[in-house]
Amino acid sequence: MNISSLYNSYPGLYIAQSFAHSFTTALLVDAAIRVWKIEDPAVRQKFRLLIVIFPVLSFPLYQLINPDRGSLSFRLGALFDSSRWMNLELFPGIQAGLLFIALLSLTTLLFLSQELVPVVQHALSSRRTELKGEKPPDDSPVCKALDALSGPKPEVFLINDDDLIIFVTTGKNPALYLSTGSVEALNGEELQTAIAHELAHIERNKRPVLVVAFLLRVLQFFNIVSLIEFRRIVQEEEIICDDVAVTLTGNPTALAGTLRKFHPAEDEQAGLPEAALNTRDRMEQYGHSLLIENRIRRLETYSAQMHQEELIPFILTATAVVVINYSIV
């Protein structure tokens, strides 16, 4: 296969440039978050969305502005020309572009196995299986906790299960599902914060930013930067819902306690046999635990967020992203 002709074609140019654009956008966004000390998770999420959305559109947008961006004369004057690296001969007959294709293939495999297949499987299984639950009595701890919270209330269902389970279904008729095990394990305050967190998910799902981001991320299935950044956006979503729950309940300590009960520390899970977890599971579990620990620590030392000026930093960052990436081909 001729690597040069692949990278001279429009699909090749799109892939190489969107990858380079997402990489520089990620660097610029991270710099902006550090420089302006952006701690509000909702603002951070807006910045990170730039990394997932911009590279999808950048190549066609720039080509519309200047169709000669792919020409040799433009490339020679560019800030960074990806084809110089792609054509670099690492060993006789082996160009660096081949390694890039290997990275793209690996990312595509990761995307399929870790994101797309699980999402499709989940969608299919939730269509097949009807969620079964009973409405709790009005004087139950669940209804009491829910009544104490302001805002619209979803339908609530109790699932007869000893495990700690709490989740919501979104859409036109959102519903909250709790297992009997979680109602027993959590005290009144903890139950209230857990429900508040789930209500935040319902409320935020009315503006399906994450769904749009996921669809755009699907288009960038080959892009490892988009894969990582989309995960960070989802993590920010959990932190945003934590903040909403704290605003509703005024009780960050109780929410931290709830998280601890739902996700016991790793040393408490040490009873599991080694063989039960493969390396990938262990890495996933480690990453997940780290995130939960961060959320718990943040809640334990919680201080109400001051409103942060976001408009000027965002405009400056977006401008830098658009201007610099124009000269990256």
Binding site: S5, L27, R75, D81, R84, N87, E89, I324
Partner: protein, 177 residues
């Protein structure tokens, strides 16, 4: 206010650092490997730098073209290619492009691209089997293209001009051959 200003200064510094890193990253492949595409001032410089004995240039140019070429680029990696772009005297737009490549390889996008082809005629160009194509380029202007094999090289000439001018120009490239 002070914090905001400090933020802007630090961000500008971060952008400057990123631009510096990108420039270094763009420069590194050229150091690691000779023969990657770069621009040259003259055809003679290409010949001596890349050790290419023959580079085909016309001795006849249609009126209105500026000499010397607006751009001369050449590379030997990943394949040999010499590209000459000639601009018009009045508006500086590229009006003639000559590529000389090792075999029939894909060249990067060119400033002149034939969008629709109206005619394709094989003809003999000083004993070579050449193909003349006539069509429309961007902004619906008439353009012509001639290509032929010259030993180990593939020559392609595209020009915003009628076919008669094209053939004269291509013919003059072989005047010394």
């Amino acid at each position: 206010m002070r914090d905001r200003l400090l933020g802007i200064i630090l961000f500008a510094a971060a952008v400057a650092v990123l631009i510096g890193i990108l420039k270094v990253l763009n420069w590194v492949p050229g150091v690691m490997q000779e023969g990657l595409p770069r621009s040259y001032r003259t055809i003679e410089e290409v010949k001596t730098s890349l050790n290419i004995r023959v580079i085909f240039t016309p001795s006849y140019y249609p009126q209105g073209l500026r000499w010397p070429p607006a751009l001369i680029t050449a590379q030997t990696k990943p394949y040999l290619m010499v590209l000459q772009e000639y601009a018009r005297q009045d508006d500086n737009s590229i009006s003639l492009i000559i590529t000389q490549t090792a075999g029939n390889v894909s060249v990067p996008n060119l400033p002149i691209t034939m969008i629709s082809k109206t005619e394709e005629v094989p003809f003999e160009l000083k004993g070579r089997n050449a193909v003349l194509e006539v069509g429309l380029c961007k902004k619906s202007v008439q353009c012509s293209r001639v290509s032929w094999d010259e030993g180990a090289f593939r020559i392609m000439v595209i020009m915003i001009a009628p076919p008669s001018e094209m053939v004269k120009t291509a013919d003059s490239m072989l005047s010394g051959q």
